[in-house]
Symmetry: C2
Subunit: 499 residues, 2 copies
């Protein structure tokens, strides 16, 4: 390895170590920090962010990148990956003027407060000028970063490097064409679940213990991570050896903590599966938000909402929660797979969820292209909800004001949620083909072979492959709508008594 | 305020913000961090320490200090304090060659491992060469920093700025002259406590709840701090609005958690009492380790081991712990004030504790002056123990190998423990004079007036005054042995039935 590369990777490790400290501070803020420390934490976080930005955009790093790009890393994929991905981050960062970044932070701060009030009052007009301002700024970001398809690409690229709107749209359209009729079919189906099962009383302490047992079965390493509670569940990957997830509990709604934990553990297994030898470099970072989400959704839905999984775990669940004693496995399985069009994205089931995302994806692109005026967003939202889900939001709070993302300036992020579902189905189909015994393993509560397969084929590679390449390498084909649609049809039609 | 000062304080705030992040990481390491993260945490901590060192020793900060020293801050004590104290830290840091600092870190790492093994085997010879190396390095530190009295001053100055060995020794000698006979008197006294009371079973959960009630009564602000458990209790002052203390529990030894919590809460009240408006500058930092220790010891001993305090809290303690139902207040009060010469410093009572410290202070100074060879330390230690406490350690593990400080290169730190006890007695006597109702307040469980008095006279000043000045300002006289000796005599002689 060249001396130049050694100098480069030393700097990169420092940069990513700063990021890891920031990650820890965020985890602390959500789980441990006393409330009066908020202002001081803001100062700490801003200092770290500034230090990291200075390092990322430093002339020294730029010179090292220039020098390294003259070297041949074809027989050292780790070095090649690190140079390529740091170059990507460096280019993005140096293209953004400091004043623009600062203005977005200021606008976001004001916009969040106004969004919160607007949502409380269900008054989009209050939020509209802030959304307009944010759109103008994000459009400037897109222009600074550069794009050749459409400006939205430049924003989405931050979360899903290499993704193109037009390609994503093509896949989304195919999914939409299948999901809209499927949702209607299920809504009118002869069999319907007894949802009330999900609301039976389950003491929080036992929920935590039961969740922990499932995390252990999934292979979460408690020596290299921890589990806490917080208002908004999340997973913080401080390093592959320090992965911290959270959940929240409702005594009268077991699925929240249960599937929340399996979801976050899916994220956590990805983080723990990154190669610790490459810690604090891109080689030990996740590929994209979409790939990350695929890991959480695969464990939450393909595994956690499968009948096979519950063949093993339902008796244990019943032993843990006496209120479940008279429930049958089939009734439980049906209840946790309730499909019902609803107004709020974060409460949506796995069939309707993607439709919520596709609506946002469509509106965001149109706003950014100037084809949809901010003032017309509520109407466009409601029209989309009617077309996709057959519902009309009774007010703006339950409509276009429900998510905080736009106020935060997070535009181009929503599609990664739906991509995660698509990748998950495609990966799981590949895993099933590779592990013919997979369903039987799930039936026996044996989850580690699946984790090993994911680790081997996805986690350990870090950012070696971009999302598109990775999907093709792992599943033998590019991102496609069919595995996801087939998974949903094959699971839900029989469940709802449809032939 | 001058523009130069604004630029200066901006830099200082960043420096102290880095320190505060380091403090948070240390707290996390002891209370939350998963074990496999240790190596990554080391990398994070080293990066932050390096960034802070670079900022503290930067030429820019030096120029700002030079420029500011031409300004007149006589009517702005905060600015004057910040310039003076940053200058002090800057000078100390720039005088130490990087290579020396690095060599001490390396030596410490090796010495700690050898010390642990030496203690396990009770084999001082194994540790001796590492202690010798550390002494040589610390002597170099003293010479780099500079001293005019004796080299030990330069080391002690790191922990107790402005203290002089010769003056400290004078006070220690007077205390020693009183304590040695007092310890003997108490040992042979007619009345002796029933220590077994302290070992009655008290469930850990109730210990935590009871401790929390006392912390609340002391005025600890749980909105600006938290309480957790850890192997080694400590208090981390991340900022005045983020103060985190820990304790440890033994079901069969209530005093450990109880007095440990009052001790750490004393530290915590100091940190919470610093002026948040000056957060991240010397004006919101503690004066010295000795002053810090005075706050913990005052609450632990002058309050927590007083009869007045237990007149209010003992009935509550009995209601919390049924195993205490048949114990009388007087028996409890006597038991928690057991005095007995013992081998181990950290287990010593408040009468004998100082003697352990004075032994170490004496040996450290002699070693540093070259008057005591490392090979002769075990004999000197044992001789000191005989003279001061009438005990001979049966082995080196329970003798000169018991503390980790020397292996860590922490030399000059021990005296601050004893200074803390002296300051505590002197401050408490002043508080009692200022608050004639103080004992009655304690009898009613009313602890806030004392906290307010400490906050007003000590905490809120941050580093405005050096320890010596502060003591004189608060108590009307310099550090003196009499208040401490009088406190011990007046409390313990009657308790042990001596007239």
């Amino acid at each position: 390895m060249s001396e130049t590369y050694d100098a480069f990777v030393g700097r990169v490790r420092e940069l990513y170590t700063l990021y890891s400290i920031s990650e820890l501070l965020e985890w602390d803020q959500e789980t441990q920090m006393p409330p009066k420390a908020a202002e001081d934490r803001g100062r700490q976080a801003a200092l770290l962010a500034g230090l990291a930005h200075d390092r990322l955009t430093s002339a020294e790093l730029g010179s090292l990148l220039d020098a390294l790009e003259a070297e041949d890393f074809s027989d050292d994929h780790a070095a090649g990956t690190n140079v390529r991905e740091v170059r990507r981050a460096f280019d993005r960062a140096v293209k953004l003027p400091r004043a623009l970044v600062a203005e977005i932070a200021r606008t976001s701060s004001v916009a969040k407060a106004n969004w919160a009030q607007a949502r409380a009052d269900s008054d989009f007009a209050r939020f509209a000028p802030h959304l307009q301002r944010m759109l103008d700024l994000k459009r400037q970001v897109a222009d600074c970063v550069g794009w050749d398809g459409e400006p939205y690409d430049a924003l989405m690229d931050e979360y899903e490097p290499g993704a193109r709107s037009a390609e994503v749209q093509k896949v989304f359209e195919q999914v939409k064409a299948e999901l809209v009729p499927l949702v209607a079919e299920l809504r009118d189906a002869p069999r319907q679940p007894d949802e009330s099962i999900r609301s039976r009383s389950c003491p929080v302490e036992q929920q935590a213990a039961f969740g922990r047992r499932i995390m252990e079965a999934m292979g979460f390493d408690f020596e290299a991570g921890r589990m806490d509670s917080s208002t908004h569940p999340f997973c913080a990957g401080v390093s592959p050896r320090d992965v911290r997830l959270t959940t929240r509990y409702d005594e009268h709604y077991l699925p929240m903590a249960l599937f929340g934990l399996m979801h976050e553990t899916g994220h956590a297994l990805y983080e723990q599966g990154l190669d610790a030898a490459h810690a604090f470099t891109p080689m030990a970072q996740a590929v994209s938000l979409g790939i990350h989400e695929s890991q959480s959704r695969l464990w939450e839905n393909q595994v956690g909402r499968s009948r096979a999984f519950w063949e093993y775990y339902f008796p244990e669940l019943q032993a843990t929660f006496p209120s479940m004693a008279d429930v049958t496995l089939d009734d439980w399985y049906f209840a946790i797979n309730t499909v019902r069009p609803s107004l709020i994205r974060v409460e949506a089931d796995e069939v309707t969820y993607g439709l919520h995302i596709m609506l946002r994806f469509d509106l965001e692109r149109k706003m950014l292209r100037g084809e949809l005026a901010v003032a017309d967003v509520p109407e466009a939202w409601n029209e989309g909800m009617r077309q996709l889900l057959g519902l009309t939001p009774p007010d703006e709070a339950q409509g276009c004001l429900q998510d905080i993302h736009w106020a935060m300036g997070i535009i181009g992020y929503f599609p990664t949620y739906a991509l995660g579902n698509l990748y998950a189905a495609q990966f799981f189909a590949a895993a099933r083909a590779a592990l013919p015994d997979l369903d039987d393993q799930l039936r026996r509560g044996t989850l580690l072979p699946l984790r090993e397969w994911l680790r081997e084929h996805i986690h350990r590679h870090g950012q070696r492959y971009r999302a598109g390449e990775l999907v093709e390498k792992v599943t033998g084909r590019p991102l496609a709508p069919e595995p996801f649609v087939a998974y949903l049809r094959e699971k839900f039609r029989p469940l709802y008594g449809l032939s």
